[in-house]
Symmetry: C2
Subunit: 597 residues, 2 copies
Amino acid sequence: MIVNEKLDALRKLMNEKNIQAYIVMTDDFHSSEYVGSYFKVREYLSGFTGSAGTLVVLKNEAALWTDGRYFIQAEEQLKGGSIDLMKSGQPDVPDIIEYLYNKLNDGDTIGFDGRTVSNAFASKLIEALRDKSITLSYQVDLADELWTDRPPLSREPVWELDVKYTGLSRKEKLKSIREKMAETGADILLLTALDEIAWILNLRGNDIACTPVFLAYMIIEKSSATLCVHKEILNDEIIHQLENDGISLADYNDFYSLISEADNDKIVQLDGSTANYCVIKSIPESTKIIDSQSPVVMMKAIKTPAEMNNIRAAHIKDGVAVTRFIYWLKHNTGTENITELSAAEKLEQFRAENDSYLGPSFEPIIAYGAHGAIVHYEPTEETNVKIEPKGLCLTDTGGHYLEGTTDITRTIALGRLTDEEKTAFTLVLKGHLNLAAAKFKYGICGENLDYLARYPLWSHGLDYNHSTGHGVGCLLSVHEGPQRIHWNVNSNQNHYVLEEGMIISNEPGYYLENHFGIRHENLVLVRKGKKNSYGQFMYLENLTMVPFDRDAIDPSLLNSAELGWLNEYHKKVFDTISPYLNGDELEWLKKTTEKIV
Amino acid sequence: MIVNEKLDALRKLMNEKNIQAYIVMTDDFHSSEYVGSYFKVREYLSGFTGSAGTLVVLKNEAALWTDGRYFIQAEEQLKGGSIDLMKSGQPDVPDIIEYLYNKLNDGDTIGFDGRTVSNAFASKLIEALRDKSITLSYQVDLADELWTDRPPLSREPVWELDVKYTGLSRKEKLKSIREKMAETGADILLLTALDEIAWILNLRGNDIACTPVFLAYMIIEKSSATLCVHKEILNDEIIHQLENDGISLADYNDFYSLISEADNDKIVQLDGSTANYCVIKSIPESTKIIDSQSPVVMMKAIKTPAEMNNIRAAHIKDGVAVTRFIYWLKHNTGTENITELSAAEKLEQFRAENDSYLGPSFEPIIAYGAHGAIVHYEPTEETNVKIEPKGLCLTDTGGHYLEGTTDITRTIALGRLTDEEKTAFTLVLKGHLNLAAAKFKYGICGENLDYLARYPLWSHGLDYNHSTGHGVGCLLSVHEGPQRIHWNVNSNQNHYVLEEGMIISNEPGYYLENHFGIRHENLVLVRKGKKNSYGQFMYLENLTMVPFDRDAIDPSLLNSAELGWLNEYHKKVFDTISPYLNGDELEWLKKTTEKIV
């Protein structure tokens, strides 16, 4: 079926169910960052493949909202169809709620699958449309009837992550969570975020691209716990161990009926930032709900000593693979036919030489030349270009290892660079080095440190339009909260102190549209330094062990402190990964990490 | 009367009025930072002269709360009396409300002058004592009966500050305020902060030490305005002009009865952070109150172009005076008998040579040697010491000029310094220079920049226990909000973007108890730099024009960027103030601002 036929079929169903507007979000049931193919209804209906977008279908028209990253792609992919493109945030573009308010009549019904909609969005919708007496029909998944070859919900097997990697057993984790529940006074804790469930249970799966989690919900009470999951994904050994740890099983789809049976006098805690609208609606109305950040968020963010040790090991393995890749790319571009996609494959091969490597932690970004300036660029068969022996190639990739998750960006010089490229490369590096060298007192948040990474660019009237740092999970999501590095103290209500054991990325960048992009990304571990009468001092330990490309550095732009930090880092890289390299690769590493004066 | 006799007399009055606990705050009726002598009831009753403290008198005991700055002084001054010292914030020390809860019986009455108590405190008191059925008697000023030689409320004459200094007429200011009232939907705006009223009216007075304001309240409605003031402090010309601008007069004491007559259907706006408890209680209960930041706060913080120009002129005058003072101190210490107090007098003389000088903007801090380590030290006859030709002298002083208000700290080397003193002096200077050189994008708050000032100390495991920067008024309070520079994003709910025209201090320090103190303070003006597709860039313009003492600088600790900034600043200081110096003073300025290599 082409898009217009699909919309006609959808409208027929809408008509049968007396629905005047049908909303299709991009989320799965768990507010996951990436979603499985079962959930790609918006893509199926509209043809637009971007990672963010919402489709609204009315009787005689349809519109799709997406953000600045995807304006060009969406225009292309919607061309010839009957869906209007709504460029979110542009002047005179209504948001979804305004659009619905203007288009709907009193008494109309809006339909959507409430499991894919956040409570925040549904509440805003109800509030805004109050005077139109609109009904929300939030339990309809019209796509399911329509999409005959819809992929099934993923049911990949679950496996156990040994406690030597996690540092804490699931029993210990459950105990800590129950202590937190006692503090908030909750009788029942509902968990819907997949990485939180995987973290607690020390289990991993493969139901989401690039994220080793499995589809599940969890209900934790004071003396019992229930895991709602497709049972066939668990083996007998795991089932047995879960039982031993006091965790009983229920079917994945039974979660909603289970919570609808909660005792009226029990207090239910959930995290409204990840729980979907149907979760909220399933809880009996008279039940008291505590909507607060899941206790797992902070526990998961602060790595255990075992995780800290393991992640260092993962970064050595990853550092060897990425360093070999850089050597290979720099020495074969121009003689071999290398494209963005083939380069990504080559890097995957280097990583896969490690026994403990499990796969990429996100779709690799190998962005050559002007592609580097597109911040969310991912090479596809359509966009793939040959990598030439000139200019810059931005490579932002990461891997999952049993020991943890990596995320690294190196921008690689291939042949001759312009002065502008070298200057920009070095300014971004200055910011990176200054942030990496931060020494601060306990209590500091990422908001206090962002200036360090941006100052060299700001002082030249330049900037980059993304955060400087995000948290990273351990064999979980490569983007994980709650800590972040961004200056905007007014955009978020909560500001998170950098705690020892948090992992955060340090990734300033610079993007010159149609020309080139630069980003330098290491992961760092927040560490305690000395403690004295002034307080507890803290520093950042570099985890990533890969050289920065000296061919692109203009040393005259680095002050003595910055040169010192760079040389110290390169010496550390050499000392750490040289034992794993041989021959030409080793020789090159030696040269490329030599002291710059 | 000695303290115990005063307390007995107070208890007699308490008994007559059936009051079981009487609270004496340190505030005036306007939440002013400094208070007039009429308001020094706590000092009168307890003998404790510190600037912060609360006295609670019960039938058989009494206690005084003060903070860490005053523990030693309060112990000394309370010695021999019957008042217990309560060291606020120390372990096992109850706060005032806990103390009252423990000491009072069901049905007791707490008395205080509600005009000196914040609404926040009274609300907490009510909440905490709810289950004891305590009555608040908030309109009793027992001191007035008791304190027979109480100084009268100050009634110093008011004078007009020409629009050439303010840049905006009071009519223009009233118009802007009424526009803000329309935005919040307020019919009546109550103003109780003295600097806000002085700012709006372009009037100044002399009712508060070091702050050229006058006792007043103000009621602004859509088409009328009332100034509540002791009428005798206004001359005919000013009365006439106020009438012309639509401002009628009422007596200072009539404010409370006027607001109690507000129409029920009018919406009253006030600023709960400065309005006292009696203000809140005087408004009819059925009246809708908007409690939000006064619109004057932000208007006053963002200086007009005229104010910006004038303040530069004030800083040149002040810079000449302080530079001459530094020359004098460095060249006469050891030969003349100079003490902290006589040095302060000398500096006052230098400032007073300017026709437009009006007086100090706060009590001068001339803190020699170990006194420098006491952050809130002010020399008195009791503490005054001779200044010797060795070590460091911290001087934190400021002046009011018709053109604006200054606040400057210089730490002056007198003879030989230890390596520790030089190192600390230079580390603090590094922080000062890094903050002064900040280049940032519009949207940045002080919280984002504090790291710059602290990093050199933090990286040595040192710190200072105060904010790095506060706003400064124009011929108003030397401490003015809402902007500030401090890293703690979690201590305040609101974070204020640095707007062009804001003045803020840059004053990192270091204090080694019993040895020495260092602080380097300039005032800076927030300025717009270039604007491009990345946004509006901003920078800080140094207002203060006084050299840093090169005798205390260890240049080996400054990197090339910092040396460059220091030399650039010293060149600017020389170019700006040398035209106003002659002879030896000029020669010395030339030498002391010479390029350091």
